[in-house]
Amino acid sequence: MDRHAPSRALLGTQLFAQVENTRVLMVGAGGIGCELLKNLAMLGFGHIELVDLDTIDVTNLNRQFLFQRQHVSQSKAHVARESALRFNRNITIISHHGNIKDPQFDLAWFKSFNLVFNALDNLDARRHVNLMCVAGKVPLIDAGTAGYSGQSTIIQPGVTECYDCHPKPTPKTFPVCTIRSTPSAPIHCIVWAKNFMFPQLFGEDEDEGDANLVNDTTNAKQVQELVREAQALRELKRSAGLPGFAERVFVKIYRHDIERLLSMEGLWQMRQKPVPLDVEALVAAANELRDPLADETAHCRVRTIEETTKVFLQSTAALAKRYAASGPQSFDKDDDAAMAFVSAAANLRCHVYHIALKSFFEIKSMAGNIVPIVATTNGVVAGLMVLHALQVLEGRVLETTTDLLTAPPAAQHLVSRPNQVLARDKLFPPVSSCAVCARAYVQVAVDTASTTLGDLLEAIVDAFSVLPVDNVTVLEGARMLYDPDFDDNLGRTLADLNVPSHHAFLLVDAYDQDDQLVQPLSVYIQKSGKKGVEILGNVPQLWTKPAPPKVQDAPIAGGDELDDEVVMAVDDDDEDIIMTESSAAGNETGHVGRTRR
């Protein structure tokens, strides 16, 4: 019996044959991923590979239907594969439990697919897949959902805009002083608890964090105070796991630190002064209480200060014990102890600063950047993705669109603009200034141990005649490797220079003799055992055009530029985190802002 008879009938023999012979990659096996895998399997896609680094969490079960309770904490990729195969054995599904940025997923691997689907929930991984697809000229369908809204877009490299053509909204950041000394809103206290207190107490030891503060703060005395405060905390951390630790932290951060801040008169001229907690009384009262978390119905209301103190002491002790036993911890919104700590620590601080307290539920939303997600929207979006894929296979891309699904929440909206249920946007050509689309890409195979930068440069300049040998700049990320005035590295091997050989690009920028701008080139280094430099595939033609009046040679997108230090910044509203769902194939750095220089 032919399981794909309906598909064959509806798609027609020709398109169906294409579908059967198409190799597709799905990045992310979460909410959208589960739906997508089902659709791809049903339609008859013959070869599907999926990558996801996540394991299954209980909060996934309300929508990720390929997973059930017994699968919790197993690999999403593997379980999704097994569940899908239970229903359809006639297709090939290969699952990878790993980070899409791992070296094994190199450019050659990406290029082995006819079509890539992004079903990811974080900016960093989405941008990485986008870069690899543009570099490898593989069509990409990118999608995301948030609440009742969602979207699916076709990215046809060189033809349409890519994911990076428009800068993504930068997450909101807060001045460090606001977070550390003068909070005035609940979010400030939550950021303090999650991004400062939690890592300080239970995270990796780090000293450079304080250096960042200096850049941000104009008041030198305040900075000194903050540095001293952090040092004292590090002292204290050495006793993590010992009895009385939680109480000592409590006294330090809600009495001593506040008292020290109060001593800085200048801070409080225009502000209401914080009031240190009556720590002894609260600890005594808390000791009388039973576990307040036992009552889950209270998650939606604001707990009393005594209850909150109890939660703080309990969770601090639990986390410290974990730290002592198994080393540095990182915040995870679905980790009960971590969430309990952040909610209690934030609320106690709110209390100190006369800020309205929030319920556990609300704090979890704000701290976890939790986007509301439902099965329905994922179903809609995954359906669109497959229909988009068919359009790509049929070569109908130019007439397709970004489909934006908005289920309008208000009737006025609906009645006046009824078509909004599925809004279509035109696909636009790449933005000329896009750091990803503007570049030409070439892949070279080198033996990094023996090939020098000079060898490589020579081979490149030979291959690209428009590149003027005396006017070329080579960068790796933001690191300058070579320019006409800096040739120290030419004799060093790539291995010696620490040039990574996967998903990193050397950026070659140049002006020719007549001050014409030459198309910037990204060189992808493929490690090979053979001596010499071999250019793989076709050599792209580089365009030239008159240089813009202002010279702008700021380093632009490579792969890893998001890995900057993260300090005291978070987004607190949905605006900043639109269109995300499904699964994490990378770290959630997309939600966190960076220090401004």
């Binding site: 019996m1 309770r69 225009m270 329905t376």
Partner: protein, 644 residues
């Protein structure tokens, strides 16, 4: 220490519809007619978030086509009852959900057991169902107030029609948050609060830069209006700007003066800096229009307050159309069903009657009681919040009293103690001296016994009323025509589109034409590939008839009459044809014949999402569902909402 498993599992969706929305979902019982790919997808999207129960009604046996387009069924299920198979597989997805199935065809079932549908909160029909059966379901669901969702799919195209008699929404979650400050019509307590501030000219820099903007606006408006009675209100903004500039200059000057007085540099710098930081005044400038824009009762709320249910005569009218039974006990059941699984208590309409009388007396809606974030010092902001909160509480208490009063006569007439005693007797005893229009309406509603009626609110608690009052500005009621109405009536709103550019209306036409085809041929078009050309011609002719019926009415006859064996010509002759636009539907006719009864998994997945999304909006009574026919074209990724 761990939160209960439901809160955890449903964490991400609770952020969309909250605990009470979840409770409504968990109380709901959804009926799916036909376990098709689309129906299964939709049900899957309701089972995962935790709908209380579902029942699949389907007589089909699992066919190779099902295995081909429905992810949940496999070869091993071939030949088994489809209702049983999909129920078992869907049930596996969530052990909090109860699944039932009825291995029976909908057509005889609905005819034999109309009362069976009383238990459902929502009925979803998918697959190829004859229009006559759809209309029979409509006759069952409409008077009971059960939302009926009808999905028609053919290859890459699909439509979803929502049929709901009076769906009310308290929490519509508007895009932009509701701001309710009453600056143009301030209540006395607000005025009193503003009066506690000293004149701006006497304020220090710290004070002036922390006055909340509502206070600035109310204050300046009074000053300005006293001097400029004939100036158009929009000129007010200029005055706010001028005052801001004047105070800024004054404060900077003061800051410089303190420099002469030998103050420390930092103090001067900070004084100068805060003088420049007049964010609260900028907010006042931005919101200046609030000072002269009175808070009106929005259109959506007027629609609710003017709804037929709250109106005696309209109530009597609607009562005889669909609810011939005036026996008290029969009426009681449907009312229970209207609200089954609904997040809001059956007292919704009593609350609306109370709100109507509140608005009639005060000329305004209750104050919402929340204050947006603004630049202000904490103490002042908290006091301002309290002013609004107290007013909101007072308004809610007022509304509460009205709601309880309104309920009395309803209870008097519908309590079982009245039993078989005449309704007129109990209603004559009922009303208390404080009769309001709402009370009269409620009273009349109970005596005429419409299917939808105002339910008792005597015991309603203040918390519920408060929550209702908070949402008073965003109430909605959604009334669509019944399916019978849609088929029988002429659609003048579409005549122009049919003549000029039918667009996606042509998909609607062809899907309706399939039903006419079925009524004439007793099978669906394209089911036999050999008949392709003949089917195309027949379907085209049926489409012409549907277009005529859309212009002139009588479309219900097209799908009924043929049941007596009527031919095409017969049907055509039966319809008056004043203007019969020629609509080119050939592409879709061919597509329909080509696709036959097959479903495509991706389209089923897409529509399953859309359907479940609307179903959840209906069940939770949150967010505003689309109005009322959704047309999707998967070939061009297009969609449109048509108003039947």
């Amino acid at each position: 220490m761990a939160p209960d498993h439901k809160t955890q599992k449903y964490d991400r969706q609770l952020r969309l519809w909250h605990a009470h929305g979840q409770a409504a979902l968990e109380k709901a019982h959804v009926c799916l007619v036909n376990g098709t790919a689309t129906g299964t997808e939709a049900l899957k999207n309701l089972v995962l978030p935790g709908v209380g129960a579902f029942t699949v009604i389907d007589a089909a046996k699992v066919s190779p086509d099902d295995v081909g387009n429905n992810f949940f069924v496999t070869r091993a299920h071939l030949g088994q009852p489809r209702a049983k198979v999909v129920t078992a597989l869907l049930q596996e997805l969530n052990d909090d959900v109860l699944g039932h199935y009825i291995d029976s065809d909908i057509t005889p079932f609905v005819a034999a057991h109309p009362r069976y549908f009383d238990r459902f909160s929502l009925v979803l029909v998918t697959g190829h169902v004859p229009a006559a059966t759809l209309l029979a379901l409509d006759r069952v669901c409409w008077p009971r107030g059960i939302p009926l969702l009808v999905v028609k799919t053919c290859g890459f195209v699909s439509t979803l029609r929502i049929v709901t008699r009076a769906h009310h929404i308290v929490e519509s979650h508007p895009d932009t948050p509701v701001r309710d400050l009453r600056l143009a019509d301030p209540f006395p307590e607000l005025v009193a609060f503003v009066d506690t501030f000293k004149p701006f000219d006497d304020m220090t820099s710290a004070e002036l830069t922390h006055v909340p903007y509502p206070v600035i606006l109310l204050h300046l408006w009074r000053e300005w209006r006293a001097q400029n009675q004939d100036t158009p209100a929009r000129e007010f903004r200029k005055y706010v700007q001028a005052e801001k500039d004047r105070h800024a200059a004054r404060l900077t000057e003061a800051a410089l003066k303190s420099l002469d007085a030998n103050q420390s540099d930092t103090a001067v710098a900070s004084a100068a800096a805060s003088a420049a930081d007049m964010e609260n005044w900028d907010e006042a400038l931005k919101q200046a229009f609030l000072a002269y824009t009175p808070t009106s009762v929005p259109r959506n709320v007027k629609d609710v307050l003017e709804h037929a249910i709250l109106d005696m005569s309209a109530n009597a009218d609607s009562a005889d159309e669909h609810a011939p039974v005036t026996n008290n006990s029969v009426v009681a059941n449907p009312v229970a069903n209207v609200t089954a699984g609904c997040a809001w208590p059956p007292t919704f309409w009593a609350l609306c009657a109370a709100l109507k009388s509140f608005v009639a007396e005060h000329g305004r809606l209750p104050v919402r009681g929340s204050v947006p974030d603004m630049k202000a010092d904490t103490a002042t902001y908290v006091s301002l919040q309290r002013v609004y909160r107290d007013k909101a509480a007072a308004d809610a208490a007022d509304l509460h009293a009205r709601a309880r009063a309104i309920a009395v006569p309803v209870v008097a007439t519908s309590t079982p103690t009245a039993s078989s005693a005449s309704l007129s007797r109990s209603s004559s005893v009922g009303p208390s001296p404080a009769t309001s229009p709402g009370m009269a309406a409620a009273d009349a509603a109970s005596t005429t016994a419409p299917a939808l009626q105002i339910e008792a609110a005597t015991n309603i608690d203040l918390a519920t009323v408060t929550e209702f009052a908070r949402h008073a500005a965003t109430l909605h009621v959604l009334s669509t025509p019944s399916l019978h109405d849609e088929y029988a009536r002429a659609h003048p709103q579409w005549t122009r589109a049919l003549n000029d550019d039918p667009g996606m209306l042509s998909i609607y036409v062809v899907l309706r034409a399939r039903e006419v085809f079925y009524a004439r041929q007793r099978r669906w078009p394209g089911a036999h590939a050999a008949d392709a050309d003949a089917d195309t011609a027949r379907l085209r002719s049926a489409a012409r008839d549907v277009v005529k019926a859309l212009v002139a009415g009588g479309g219900n006859a097209l799908v009924m009459e043929a049941a007596e064996g009527g031919a095409d010509a017969h049907a055509e002759a039966g319809i008056a044809t004043p203007v019969a636009p020629v609509v080119d539907v050939d592409d879709w006719v061919q597509e329909c014949v080509r696709a036959g009864p097959a479903e495509l998994a991706a389209v089923a997945g897409y529509m399953g999402g859309v359907i479940a999304q609307e179903a959840i909006k209906l069940i939770t009574a949150q967010y505003v569902p689309m109005m009322n026919t959704y047309v999707y074209d998967g070939i061009h990724s297009k969609s449109e909402v048509l108003k039947a």
